[in-house]
Amino acid sequence: MKADSDKPHLTRAHALDLLKQMIRVRRFEGKCAELYTEEKIRGFLHLYDGEEAVAVGVIPVLEKRDRVVATYREHGHALVRGVPMKPLLAEMYGKQEGCSRGRGGSMHLFDAATNFHGGNAIVGGGLPLAIGLALAEHMRASDVVIACFFGEGAVAEGEFHESLNLAALWGLPVLFVCENNLYAMGTALALSESETDIGRKAACYRIESETVDGMDVIAVEAAARRAVHAVRASGKPYFLECRTYRLRAHSMFDAQLYRDKAEVEAWRHKEPIVRLQGWLETNGMIHPDDLSRIENEVAAEIAEAVAFAEAGTWEPVEQLTRFTYANPSVPTGQ
């Protein structure tokens, strides 16, 4: 696929690839939830179940030289960006073979090789960082695009407003991707925003924006092509709101007292994998064999990742303070 084209190339192969990427993220996280109950993964674990179409629709449109800033719900973004599943899962185990040497865990996946600038566990905290990455690219006159993902909860943060203003004021190549899943942890959008049409906030900063059905991967991809093309061509920011829904709990500690089971059920029927699969079936673009092949391939990849993470090793405690500073001779307190 060529990222400089606005048109999605919806060949059978491409559609199946989109489906596979979403299934890959979904199955991987399903395994993560299992591993969490087995206490292989600890800390916070935020699953992307239901929102896969956003990462899968947006990230493959980016070029290798582009940069990605993500949130603490970023397993899908990392996988789709090309962070290999093995070090990704090892990271969640806390093993030193992990993509952040095991220091970050689920919320802090980093990978310099794919310009993946991290899961950030401060809501809104990634936006100023994206501004800075974009400022550097702007000052060196490159055509690199910074894709910055955040939830609608971040929209209430001052850093969101500061960052949108800076991006527009200075003309910086940031693609803001708002993953609007309707709940900031357990607080519904209407309980946290006076203006719930988030695209209008971008308009206030004179940033071109588009709102897309975030459960429709084909629509997301088409919008992402327009958006990335616009940012690369103009060097200016673009705001993409993807309306989506988180089907599982906020984290593994969430009893979901704030929403009805019926609401979740209703969204289950609209979720992106079911939706793409149904569309492919209706249009005769998928065979039962395709699905079993995808499932088998994904299952094999996950099994290998689990084996890799299990075989991983713990970083020696003697290295605890390593990389607090680049220079190992800088004392860290002793």
Binding site: G102, F110, L129, I131, G132, L133, A136, N165, T324
Partner: protein, 335 residues
């Protein structure tokens, strides 16, 4: 690190001008360096540090920002991560609290948290300290808070040489460096070597040698401490004055060598006493040089109040030479 001032002639200048020269040199020497902050360009810097630099270097490299401390500090961190060498100016340490998320949660953590894949070689300069009757939201000395944070370095240039020389070294550092400039120093005039340049940023220095007591301080309090030492000399007390220069990391070796010699220590710190940098230094002395001590360690810190507006109360709230003299004499049993 002391310049050999005799060698090449000297130039009279203010501390402000020394900082400006440091910024000019850095921007000229390294195309990755730029200055960014509130009113650094058209206004010339709220303390006039960057006056004239916009005309010289243009708006890309002397970048005025909106009043968005978290936004532009984070932007500096991100730009550093992407290969540039930004100098971020925050008007005062009180305002830097609006950027604390980016400084602590991103700049200080990213190298360790990413397993050394990403770093943030940014320099963040800000004014600190009381003395200009700017009251309780512009006058605090919170550098000790920042010195609490692993992952960043914290500098307090007290002299023209350090104002001129620390910036370049800080910009070469692969990690974030915060530079605290005491507001009372900007107008300080002195002689600086014509060829003054980069200085180290990790060693404390003895600004005045002495055998009777160690007075350990930094930043704006250095000059009050030297004044106190001169007074003490009139009473046959030879105080050794240590300028910490770097608040993180602390140069324990210089501190302990001095205490081992004088056997008495007073720490002078414009931060509040409870949980202060002075407390940290005192504890380090206890840990590392307890048996060298002949008297309890003493501290002269700010009174634990928000810094008030009227001059007499402001003066009473922060360390002054007479308090330092009194604390030193008490430690020597010469009250």
């Amino acid at each position: 690190m002391q310049q050999e001032t005799a060698r090449s002639g000297t130039i009279e200048m203010t501390y402000r001008e020394a900082v400006r020269e440091a910024i000019r040199e850095a921007i000229k020497r390294d195309e990755r360096v730029f200055l960014m902050g509130e009113d650094v360009g058209h206004y010339g810097g709220c303390y006039a540090v960057s006056k004239g630099l916009l005309a010289e270097f243009g708006p890309e490299r002397i970048r005025d920002t909106p009043l968005s401390e978290s936004g532009f500090t984070g932007a500096g961190i991100g730009a550093a991560m992407a290969g540039l060498r930004p100098i971020v100016e925050v008007m005062t340490v009180n305002f830097s609290l609006l950027a604390l998320d980016q400084i602590l949660n991103t700049a200080a953590t990213v190298r360790h948290m990413s397993g050394n894949q990403f770093g943030a070689p940014v320099v963040i300069r800000m004014a600190t300290g009381a003395g200009r009757q700017l009251a309780a939201q512009h006058s605090h000395s919170l550098e000790g808070w920042y010195a609490h944070i692993p992952g960043i370095k914290v500098l307090a240039p007290a002299t023209l040489e350090d104002a001129r020389g620390m910036l370049w070294t800080a910009l070469q550092d692969p990690d974030p460096v915060l530079i605290f400039e005491n507001v009372m120093l900007y107008n300080m005039t002195g002689k600086l070597a014509a060829d003054a340049g980069a200085v180290d940023i990790d060693k404390a220095v003895v600004r005045r040698p002495g055998r009777d007591i160690s007075l350990i301080t930094y930043g704006g309090s250095l000059w009050k401490t030297l004044e106190a030492a001169a007074t003490l000399a009139g009473e046959n007390i030879e105080a050794e004055v240590i300028d910490l220069r770097s608040l993180r990391p602390l140069d324990d070796a210089t501190i302990m060598a001095s205490v081992a010699k004088t056997r008495r220590a007073v720490i002078i710190d414009e931060g509040w006493r409870s949980g202060s940098l002075a407390a940290e230094i005192g504890m380090r002395i206890v840990e590392q040089a307890f048996y060298e001590l002949d008297a309890p360690i003493a501290r002269v810190c700010s009174e634990e109040v928000p810094i008030p507006y009227p001059r007499h109360l402001e003066n009473a709230a922060i360390p002054q030479a007479d308090k330092i003299v009194a604390a030193a004499k008490a430690a020597l049993g010469r009250e």
